[in-house]
Symmetry: C2
């Protein structure tokens, strides 16, 4: 079975969309948030837990799996789905982002990229053809064209990298052998609207089954990120899914969907969890904070995740302080639940025609100011009011 995307609904007041992607490993309702399983495991979680959390798509990293355990080994073990025990859709990146982030990046030419492994210093070459071949060995449902991820603020470099990314996309398309994987193109162009538009137009002409926006959330402002989405997404074919790579936070889901993004992935919720930062509708809560020492409440009142149904903030703080592995896991469960539940509410609101109101209500409650500071501010305000 090959990949197909059905656009089911368009929001009237925003660019939000509801769809479903059909993949060899089942249907993928969009918009969707994909937790990241860099090394063939979403850190701390079992596939059963991910399924119970309602995860439908996960991302795995080509660069990491190529180095360890090796994509040939994964292929020999029956592919990534079987290897990691996950039977729902998987997306692999191309390795481009990782390779271009390496301090051990050696040589970049049209032919490809020479780099040294961050693990043992051994030398390797990625090219468009090689990146596709590795992803074919891994066997994800959605695979990505090899792209050059430029530092986004330098116009000349952004343009050169974009043009190379275009040449590489055509070569990836040529190199693809497996008909059961959907090869997505990646729009580049830094923070330059005209480059982004040129990139969207060129890649659209390749008639790929889906398109990603790459090179964002790498240091530019949220305004720049939103501006790039606003100029790029309208130029991409409406009947193809749009994937915003490496984004996001809760607020990024709301704002990305409002601009027409269908697929998101980010390590943020799982990484925050391991640091004790828990997501709530009012913002982040740091469970290591002393104020939770004797707090019998769950992380978030009304949350239906396993963690909130069974454990107090006091217990989670104890696990964090004693560096118990279960703490990492219970925190991860909460944050992944938060993201998937939020996306479920977004999708329902889009279908009900109430997404604009949902977005407004979200921002009325949510703050990027840490929860503890906000609570302290609120109590200080109350105290001031009480004093008259």
């Amino acid at each position: 079975m090959s990949f197909r995307f059905d656009l089911l609904h368009r929001d009237e007041r925003t660019a939000g969309r509801v769809g479903v992607a059909h993949t060899p490993h089942g249907d993928l309702p969009t918009p969707v948030f994909a937790p990241v399983g860099t090394q063939a495991t979403v850190k701390t979680l079992s596939p059963d837990e991910l399924r119970e959390l309602g995860a439908t798509l996960i991302l795995a990293n080509t660069y990491h799996l190529y180095l360890r355990p090796g994509s040939d080994l994964v292929a020999e073990m029956g592919g990534l789905h079987r290897f990691m025990g996950w039977d729902r859709p998987i997306l692999t990146d191309s390795g481009g982002f990782q390779v271009f982030s390496l301090e051990t990046l050696r040589k970049v030419s049209d032919e490809g990229v020479t780099f040294r492994s961050h693990i043992d210093g051994s030398e390797h070459v990625f090219s468009p053809e090689r990146a596709v071949a590795i992803q074919e060995e891994l066997g994800a449902d959605i695979i990505m064209c090899f792209d050059e991820c430029a530092e986004p603020f330098d116009r000349a470099y952004s343009q050169a990298a974009m043009e190379r990314t275009h040449r590489w996309a055509a070569r990836c398309q040529q190199a693809q052998k497996r008909p059961d994987q959907a090869l997505f193109g990646i729009v580049q162009g830094g923070i330059f609207a005209d480059l982004r538009q040129e990139s969207a137009r060129y890649l659209s002409s390749l008639e790929l089954p889906g398109y990603a926006i790459g090179g964002l959330s790498v240091g530019e402002s949220k305004e720049d990120m939103h501006a790039m989405l606003d100029v790029t997404l309208p130029l991409l074919p409406e009947d193809k899914p749009r994937y915003l790579m490496g984004v996001g936070s809760p607020e990024d889901l709301v704002e990305g969907v409002a601009r027409g993004v269908d697929i998101f992935d980010c390590t943020l919720p799982t990484r925050l969890a391991r640091n004790g930062a828990l997501l709530t509708r009012q913002g982040r809560l740091n469970i290591r904070n002393a104020q939770y020492t004797r707090d019998p409440a769950p992380v978030e009142e009304g949350c239906t995740c396993y963690t909130c149904r069974h454990f107090s903030r006091a217990y989670l703080r104890h696990l964090a302080r004693t560096e118990e592995v279960l703490g990492l896991r219970l925190n991860t469960i909460h944050n992944v639940h938060f993201m998937i539940h939020l996306m479920g509410e977004i999708r329902a609101a889009l279908l009900a025609g109430t997404f604009a109101e949902f977005r407004e209500a979200f921002w009325a409650e949510y703050t990027i100011i840490p929860y503890e500071i906000r609570r302290a501010n609120r109590e200080a305000r109350k105290a001031r009011i009480a004093k008259g």
Copy 2:
């Protein structure tokens, strides 16, 4: 509801027993192996997983919980069961073993023990009365008398420690306020048969609801351990449960049950798991070993644990090499399943009157020689035979 033990069946050919302990948190079929949850979590596992693994009893450490998060906090949060989300029986040790193992042990007198915390160096005092009070705050179903754990090879010290342990047991019994907790006495006496017998006789006279054998598996030989069980257990009241503290390995369960032990606890299976050493009926298998790199087989053919049903040795090795938390957890699931399943088979064999045969079959297959070495030996032998 208070504690009651029913002895259901005695094996005819060994000293093995089958029973059931009734506790405020449900029935506890014996013999039983208790996984250890030192800091109010069996490392890496959730309470749901423990339940699915068939765990009925877990142990938590008084010393650790007293220091972090504090037994008063645990009491305030509704007790240990509620705090850690475990609604089946819990046993707490008295803190004696930990305190006497500390490098920061300061002063020991009949009154009690002064020590410094291994975490922050703060000074604390444990006495029989204090150890009972702390365990009453924690709220386990089975609690232990405060005992002096002597180095087991010095006769004079073993005798003095045993005598102090007896005086402390009587004080613990006096100090106990909660009627819903079963206070067990601890037999001491090092590796000296007459001391062990004296200890068993004295503690029996206190008519406690259960008895533990302490101070074993601390460096003495297996022969010494077995000899101590052989001389001690026949002197303990038959209608009370017997608990062998801090033991054991798979072979210890088989041999301990054959001598009349009802309850075991040990960190070994969970600690081994985190080091990549997996239990099988043929002995230990080290999953980090290079020979498993491309091995699609489960850890143990026929094992019904979650890990063996879903994942290959190759995947577990990958998780171990990449230091992924999921690996610690999948390994722990396998080892805890192994111990609980083994005890289930032992109990069934006792009831069927086939435990002597089971014990023989166990030893025919099991070896304490690491799995890899045994396999290499077997293959070398095969090669020699093939050559003639």
